[in-house]
């Protein structure tokens, strides 16, 4: 089976971000970017499927400007076989929105015929958590979101997926092809080792212009303003439980 993995280039988890002067977006010029952590987990799972001889080919797909190739290279260094770079100059943290991303992926699906899409459950820039669900809807494939365990059946016709849900864990079986989204505890991604970093240079990345896919890329949501979270004000101390209750009541919280 062929597994497609989405890899998004997002602001690095440790980077300190600022808001643009016009308050229309986060300022991403000269901020350290990296592979979205949940996408990295998805890549790791796909590579493990390949190592278990369940998957024959793992293809890493990223949408974005030319620097998106950096995260594809990282996926290749982790063990993906080849990459597809869908080029666009739209900002992937807010201009290119989940529905357009899902439509791009659906268009690629028709052309390349993967047996599964493995995606991160969300990206840490826009935190939308929508692409996997929308992609499954567009393709009319089953979806298994928030996966913490993925087991593909011997005949490769279905997958048993353990999902992290509010009440605990839910185990479902989905026929393949399907869309699976990775939660935090699915695996611990490997480091890209030096020999694999070198080998990744020889792997192929195909480039496709997003505008050539016949997909409406326009956003459905307009960002009116981006603002910093309110600064937390200092708390106060109370003497005892009675005083606490009195204060909570006085503040209308109880």
């Amino acid at each position: 089976m062929r597994v497609f993995v989405g890899v998004k280039r997002a602001v690095d988890y440790a980077a300190k971000v600022r808001i643009q002067a016009d308050k229309k977006a986060v300022d991403i010029s000269n901020v350290k970017m990296a592979i979205n952590p949940f996408c990295e987990i998805a890549v790791e799972e796909a590579v493990r499927l390949k190592e278990k001889k369940v998957a024959e080919e793992v293809v890493a797909v990223s949408i974005g400007p030319k620097q998106a190739q950096e995260v594809i290279r990282q996926a290749l260094a982790m063990g993906a076989d080849r990459g597809i770079h869908v080029t666009t100059d739209m900002r992937v943290d807010q201009e290119l929105q989940p529905l357009a991303v899902a439509k791009i992926m659906a268009a690629l699906t028709g052309e390349h015929d993967p047996s599964a899409w493995l995606l991160g459950k969300q990206a840490i820039d826009d935190d939308s958590n929508q692409v996997a669900q929308m992609l499954a809807g567009l393709l009319d494939w089953p979806q298994a979101t928030f996966a913490s365990e993925v087991e593909v059946s011997e005949d490769k016709k279905s997958a048993t997926v353990t999902r992290e849900i509010d009440g605990g864990l839910q185990t479902i079986e989905v026929p393949l092809p399907a869309v699976i989204s990775a939660d935090l505890r699915l695996n611990e991604p490997r480091y890209a080792t030096l020999p694999n970093i070198m080998k990744a240079k020889k792997k192929k990345i195909d480039t496709v212009d997003a505008a050539s896919l016949g997909v409406d890329l326009a956003g459905q949501i307009e960002v009116l303003e981006v603002s910093e979270p309110a600064t937390r004000e200092a708390g106060s101390k109370v003497e005892d439980v009675d005083a606490l209750l009195a204060k909570l009541k006085a503040d209308g919280l109880l």
Partner: protein, 435 residues
């Protein structure tokens, strides 16, 4: 312990907290030397170097940092962690890819040493002794047979190697060494002792696996007196003299005296570079010393960077007389001087690395110069970090006093300051005008 991914997600928060500019996060390095993450400058010549740095930094943060303090306190070398460096392809970072190496350049070696040292200089010192002094030495100077036999296991971390040059009675005066290899039929017979050998032991009683050993094969009083041998654990007469303990710093790296009593090595296979290399070790020595000094200087960069981060954060958060410490001129001087010296050293190290071929000699002025400058720089910066942090800086938990003690070794090991000054002044004496 949080997983790596969990640390990432947790510290950002998989929610609106993604926009929170938390004060204690590292990150906004734009505008600082090498801070743009741009491929193509001397710090990151290629995409490979960028990925290498990201990989070593992530590994260091997740796996090296958490064990550093404990291993330092216990004077214990972390062998299992060391072997993991083999899985990552770091142990053979510059070595021949045909024999298990990663085939990267001097800049890559500098990146690895800088990153590891920012968390654990003594662990990095063991890495340096193995990867630069042993693996790279054999990769550059050894025969195909020697490389095929030794390098794959050394690059994988299955075996541990080191290099033997100094002796109990000869250090900077390297030509004064007295360990002797005497030809006897098809063998050489080695007698003598070697001192301060990093990775000489892997426990109180057990030798490291392989060593390249410089020994005297002539008495003409010149460069042709020295030869380089491969000596292996288990050879009769080769033993651990003493494990040297209670060092000032670099306490999680094992140092030993090694003893050679009638150690018989076959000339055909154990003279590094082949049986015709008797008396020709000085070129190998010069090549390897340049890389050794460059990477020791790179370790200084890691020590200085960590020290500056520690003092900078402390001076911002600690209040005295109603304001942050970093509002006081005395402390501003400590921080700013440290940063400027660190940045100057970093530029010098990376510029020298970009010009250093692994198999060339002839960069001695600058490969000595980077270490001469950076070792003192790192020691001074760590000292200022301790001064800024006061009583906290003087205690182990805050790490800078360890960095201060570790940094001192860099003024002694791999060439004393005085050795660098001697070499540099001698080489510069032939120069009329500087470029």
């Amino acid at each position: 312990m949080l997983t790596r991914a969990a640390m990432r997600v947790a510290s950002r928060g998989a929610s609106a907290a993604a926009l929170t500019p938390a004060r204690h996060m590292s990150g906004a390095t734009t505008g600082l030397l090498g801070g743009n993450n741009a491929v193509g400058d001397i710090f990151t010549p290629t995409e490979d170097h960028k990925q290498l740095r990201e990989m070593v930094r992530a590994f260091t943060k997740a796996e090296v940092e958490p064990q550093a303090l404990e291993h330092h306190r216990d004077e214990k070398f972390n062998l299992p962690l060391f072997r993991k460096l083999g899985d990552l392809g770091l142990l053979g970072i510059t070595a021949d890819p045909n024999h298990g190496g990663s085939g990267m350049d001097a800049t890559a070696a500098v990146i690895a040493h800088e990153e590891l040292s920012a968390s654990d200089p003594s662990f990095c010192l063991s890495y340096l002794a193995h990867s630069m002094l042993f693996v790279n030495n054999l990769s550059v100077n050894g025969t195909e047979d020697q490389k095929a036999r030794i390098l794959p296991s050394a690059c994988a971390g299955q075996t541990i190697g080191g290099m033997c040059m100094s002796e109990p009675g000869a250090g900077t005066d390297v030509m004064g060494m007295s360990t002797r290899a005497t030809r006897d039929g098809d063998d050489y017979v080695i007698n003598g002792a070697k001192m301060w050998i990093t990775n000489g032991a892997v426990s109180d009683t057990e030798l490291g696996d392989h060593f390249v050993v410089y020994a005297r094969t002539g008495d003409k009083g010149g460069a042709s007196d020295l030869s380089l041998f491969l000596v292996e654990k288990g050879m009769p007469g080769f033993s651990l003299g003493q494990r040297i303990k209670d060092k000032c710093g670099m306490r999680a790296s094992y140092t030993a005296e090694l003893v050679f009593e009638d150690v018989r090595v076959p000339a055909a296979t154990h003279l590094v570079g082949g049986p015709d290399r008797e008396g020709k070790a000085v070129l190998s020595m010069m090549r390897n010393l340049e890389l050794e000094r460059l990477t020791l200087a790179a370790m200084s960069l890691g020590i200085a960077r960590r020290s500056i981060e520690a003092m900078n954060a402390y001076a911002r958060d600690r209040k005295a007389f109603g304001s942050s410490l970093n509002r006081f001129g005395q402390i501003q001087r400590l921080i700013a001087d440290s940063y400027a010296e660190y940045a100057a050293g970093k530029a010098y190290v990376y510029a020298t690395a970009s010009a250093l071929g692994l198999d060339s000699a002839g960069n001695r002025v600058d490969s000595d110069g980077v270490k001469l400058y950076c070792a003192a720089m790192a020691k001074n910066v760590a000292d200022r970090a301790m001064q800024t942090m006061g009583g906290y800086g003087y205690c182990g938990e805050y790490r800078v006093e360890q960095l201060w003690r570790d940094a001192k070794l860099l003024e002694i090991g791999g060439g004393t300051n005085e050795a660098h000054q001697k070499n540099m002044a001698r080489d510069l004496s032939h120069v009329e005008t500087l470029p």
